[in-house]
Symmetry: C2
Subunit: 110 residues, 2 copies
Amino acid sequence: MNVEYKNKWISQLKKGTLSFIVLNILNKDKEYYGYDLISEIKRITDIDIAEGTLYPLLIRLKNENLVEHNWVEQQSGIPRKYYKITKEGKSTIAQMKAYWDNLNQTINSI
Amino acid sequence: MNVEYKNKWISQLKKGTLSFIVLNILNKDKEYYGYDLISEIKRITDIDIAEGTLYPLLIRLKNENLVEHNWVEQQSGIPRKYYKITKEGKSTIAQMKAYWDNLNQTINSI
DNA sequence: ATACATACATTGTTATACTATGTATTTTGT
DNA sequence: ACAAAATACATAGTATAACAATGTATGTAT
């Protein structure tokens, strides 16, 4: 087994799957803030995501109008940027899901 | 629907899935040459792969000892580089497959 | 006081897909 | 016969995204 290659592959695989996972989570219609999403993704998928990966990702999704955010001040501590999915985000993730399912089926049939 | 984002996403998704697809195809224990793999992938997955994508990918897989190749002269035309999977390739793709299946299940459960 | 956790963010590096281009041979269309 | 397309390999330059490292600021625990 080429462990190094597998690890490099997992890192590359994230380049498509991370945004997919984030949108799927937000598609549950619950609002999440960035720091929270990191632990939620870790909890669900056991995947560790660096903050330097997630924050730019959320900014990209925002720029593409797939998500929106609002700052929420806390009684104590740093204000949080809560993200929620947009209508455009919902229709886009539906298409992505269809593509993903089809790809998965195809690969399983090889 | 954000079509541009979806297309960009598909391109990013390939960064993990292409090598996975190629190794899965070679794992059938048939030998393929590069140009042939492009049409085989198109046939199976309907994904268009540029030659400038596949040839460097095969070279990387070779450098990682996941595949090996031998030149085969043709009665007419340009000689072909036939690739086949190695033992290390087989054990690695098995691990990748396990990771992929688990990831797919996780995403479906969100 | 010091370290750790929370919560945001940016910079530089690395890996990979894609476009464009190059070389050479053979086949197909007109 | 000639041009275009297909076959079959390859490399160079560009764009994108993950990751490590670092930064800012606040709050909590030892």
